[in-house]
Every structure is written in structure tokens, then in C-alpha cells.
């Protein structure tokens, strides 16, 4: 069985890693270079404290994999587990956080409601007047997304998988039992093609006449100069969408949850820089003195119902593995990739049936 995986982001590489670990012949086709897509542009917040209960088991499982994979792959993910804080600055969002915590606790997540003053105990310079309620989960943290991708890529290669970069898929055709994939003027035959192209997944689906209909989200992120360890947890204000934490390199990294866009574009805007600076300096006023070094943007995709799209499609051999959604890809993809590999090997996997593309 020959498998092509389109997109070398965390979803594609995790799937490729577990398939190749079972000895399956895998080729990963990346349109640009490793880290070009959302897996190379996000801020690395990792928590099981997410808002969709369908995904929480996969978040919990992925956190275990984040603990285990660095030694398995012999690659340090630079993960810091110093907790994750979600805060709300209006009553509606405060209620939402409280409801989320009840749901999370039911599913075995050790999150709890905390007061703004308790955030100050975690981050001494936090301004408690900038929030009215918050939730906290200790078993969470921040990962450096780049070594996650490099480490998975190294594991794939060690297992015999091939990763082709600068390999943009131009066309896919159904050819009897096989799928023909056209890349850089060459034609390659595969038994199975996995579409883990993130924000480009709609375009890949169209090549086989499938209207995937994932929403494309553009999100902007920035870093300041590096300082000594200052912010331990990942802090995410669900009311403004502003999030902030500190990388293993010492930069204060943060962004604003993205908005839907019609076209893929990764331009930077001054509107983002100003909105981010206003809110983040309300939350932690001392950040005022730090200088922004760089801002950038990335694009990811979210399915029509906000849950991943994973599984077989009406085109035999063509599999979707995309639509992971806002603030979730890095959190759930390790486990979802492993489950998708099982689906491909065995032909079925009840654990991820609810993400079946044919639900729409």
C-alpha cells in the first residue's frame, strides 16, 4: 500500500509518523518548506481545557504523547508545562468559562474556576481588574511548535518515509484503483491520498470535485524581545481573543484569535499590533516597556461545525484530515494522527467516526 500525505504540518506528519512506524510506504508532499503553514506560525498553547467536548479525549491523549515523543524521536520539543489560564472580561463569557469547566471536569480534565486575584498569584504582574472570571488548568503549557515538526519529520524519515518539500500538488485524478498525483511535472500513483493541507484543504478537495467548505481563518501573532522567565502560564482572554505567554527562548509571544477570510493571505496589519498592544498591556501593564520585534500571520482551517474532518470520502482512497479549528490543531493533532493511521491500517476506527467527512 502506497500512501501520499499532502501537507507536512502537525496533522500530516503525525499521521505519516504512525503509518511509517507500522512499516507502511508513506510519501509526504509539502508545497513549500517545513513550518510554512499554521504549524510553524502558532504560539504553541497546549491544554485539555478546550471548548469542544468531542475533542477533549484527544487533547488528553496528545498531552501524553507530548511527554513521550521527545524521547521516542530523540528531539526536544522545548515544552514548558506551567499551566493555562482562560479569562473573561464580560458576564456572558464568564458564564461560558464556568460551563466549560463543568463539562471539562466531567471528562476528566483538572480545570477549575479561579478568580482574577488568583491569576495574580500565577503571574505577579497581572492586573486583576482586566478580568472578571477565569479558569485554570495546571496540566497544560506551551510547546515550541518548530521542534515538534522537525522531530516528527526526523521520526518519519527514520521509519523510511519520504518528505518532499517544494512539492506542490497540481492535480489529482482517480485512475482505476489508484489516485494519480501530479507534482512538479511528475505523475505519481498512490493507493491512498490524505488531505492534511490545513488552509489549503479546500483547494486540494476541489481537485477531486469535492466541496469541503472549511472556513479559512487568518490569525496574527507577534513576539517581543527576549527577557528572563517572567510569564509562566499561557494566558488567553476569550473575550478579546488576545493571548500571551513566553517562549522557551524568552520572547513574550502573543496574538489575537483569527477571523474568517475569503482568500489565503498572510500579510501583517498595524490594526493587529495596536489592538494587541492595548489589551495585553491592560492585562500585564509592565509589558509596556517591552519592544515588539516582529509580527506575522498564518492561516488555518475550521470545518463548518467546528470539529475536525477526518476519514474516507466519496472518492475511494481519498481521505480528509483537516478542519482542526481555532486553538486546537497543535493540541489534538498528535493523537488524531495516530488514530487516523489506525483507520487507514484497519479500514475502520470507531474512535474518530464522529469526524467522518460524510457527516455534512
Amino acid at each position: 500500500m502506497k500512501i501520499a500525505i499532502i501537507g507536512a504540518g502537525i496533522m500530516g506528519l503525525s499521521t505519516a509518523y504512525y503509518l511509517s512506524k507500522s512499516g507502511i510506504d508513506v510519501t509526504v508532499l509539502e508545497q513549500k518548506y517545513l513550518l510554512y503553514g499554521a504549524s510553524g506560525r502558532n504560539s504553541g498553547g497546549i491544554t485539555p481545557m478546550i471548548d469542544r467536548e468531542e475533542l477533549i479525549p484527544f487533547a488528553l491523549e496528545s498531552i501524553k504523547l507530548y511527554d513521550r515523543l521527545p524521547s521516542e524521536l530523540n528531539f526536544n520539543f522545548l515544552m514548558r508545562k506551567d499551566g493555562y489560564v482562560k479569562l473573561a472580561s464580560n458576564e456572558g463569557d464568564a458564564d461560558r468559562l464556568r460551563q466549560e469547566v463543568r463539562m471539562q471536569n466531567r471528562l476528566g480534565v483538572s480545570s477549575r474556576v479561579i478568580s482574577p486575584e488568583e491569576i495574580k498569584e500565577l503571574v505577579p504582574d497581572f492586573n486583576p481588574d482586566s478580568a472578571i472570571a477565569a479558569s485554570y488548568c495546571r496540566d497544560s503549557g506551551v510547546v515550541f511548535p518548530w521542534p515538534v515538526i522537525w522531530g516528527l519529520a526526523r521520526g518519519c524519515r527514520k521509519n523510511g518515509a519520504e518528505i518532499k518539500t517544494e512539492a506542490k500538488v497540481e492535480r489529482i485524478e482517480k485512475n482505476g484503483e489508484k489516485l494519480s498525483v501530479y507534482v512538479n511535472g511528475g505523475k505519481y500513483e498512490f493507493d491512498i491520498v490524505v488531505n492534511s493541507a490545513g488552509a489549503w484543504s479546500n483547494e486540494i478537495s476541489k481537485m477531486l470535485g469535492i466541496e469541503l467548505g472549511n472556513r479559512i481563518i487568518k490569525e496574527e501573532v507577534c513576539v517581543t524581545e527576549s527577557v528572563k522567565p517572567y510569564i509562566d502560564p499561557y494566558i488567553h482572554d476569550i473575550s478579546s481573543g488576545v493571548y500571551v505567554t513566553q517562549t522557551a527562548r524568552g520572547e513574550i509571544i502573543g496574538g489575537i484569535t483569527g477571523k474568517e477570510t475569503d482568500t489565503i493571505n498572510t500579510s501583517s496589519t498595524i490594526e493587529f499590533a495596536v489592538k494587541y498592544a492595548k489589551r495585553v498591556t491592560q492585562m500585564i501593564p509592565k509589558l509596556k516597556g517591552l519592544a515588539m520585534l516582529r509580527q506575522w500571520a498564518g492561516v488555518y482551517d475550521e470545518s463548518r461545525d467546528g470539529l475536525p474532518v477526518i476519514g474516507f470520502t466519496e472518492v475511494d482512497g481519498f481521505i480528509q484530515a483537516n478542519g482542526l479549528g481555532k486553538h486546537k490543531g497543535m493540541i489534538v493533532a498528535l493523537s488524531l494522527g495516530r488514530e487516523l493511521a489506525k483507520l487507514i491500517e484497519k479500514g475502520e476506527n470507531p474512535v474518530i467516526k464522529k469526524f467522518n467527512p460524510q457527516r455534512f
Binding site: 513550518l35 501583517s268 499590533a273 495596536v274 498592544a277 498591556t281 509589558l287 516582529r294
Partner: protein
């Protein structure tokens, strides 16, 4: 005796040897080399080091600087404190 060290990226304290090592590891396009080594990601954002990195990459891979290209240029041109940005007036 002090080992000869040719620093090519001062913000991230990288030597020419380290850049060459990364290229030999397979991070042999500019965007990957930047991310793997941290070159051009420090306070200067490449103003001091990008040309050195391109030169080394060109010498190692045989590609011309034009083929290698440059990294994506992003704002701000120089670091801007958040207190200045937070006074911005945009909608």
C-alpha cells in the same frame, strides 16, 4: 589557546560553523535554516546577519544569492515598545 570562532549572527550568538552544520543536517533552504538556527530572528531581525547567512548558504549549496532569495520581511522595521503601539488610533 582560543578556538577561532567566526560569529555571523550576533543577536543569537551563532558561528559560521554552526550554520554550516545546520546546512549539512539538511536545513538547506533559507527559511528552514533561519528557523533551525535562529539566525535573523533576534533583535536585529536579520539586518546584521542575513547577508552572511545567504553567503554561507550560497557557498555550501552552489545556489546563487538570487536563487536563495531573502526571508520574508515583516514589521516593525525596528523594535517598537508596546506602550507606543498601545497609543495607536486605528479601528
Amino acid at each position: 589557546m582560543v578556538k577561532e570562532r567566526k560569529i555571523v549572527c550576533r543577536c543569537e550568538d551563532l558561528t559560521e560553523e554552526e550554520i554550516i552544520h545546520a546546512i549539512e543536517e539538511g536545513y538547506n533552504d533559507l527559511e528552514s535554516l533561519k528557523r533551525y538556527t535562529g539566525a535573523t530572528t533576534g533583535a536585529c531581525q536579520g539586518k546584521g546577519c542575513l547577508m552572511h547567512i545567504i553567503r554561507i548558504l550560497s557557498q555550501k549549496t552552489g545556489k546563487s544569492p538570487d536563487e536563495i532569495g531573502i526571508t520574508t520581511q515583516r514589521p516593525p522595521v525596528n523594535p517598537v515598545p508596546l506602550y507606543i503601539l498601545s497609543e495607536g488610533d486605528v479601528e
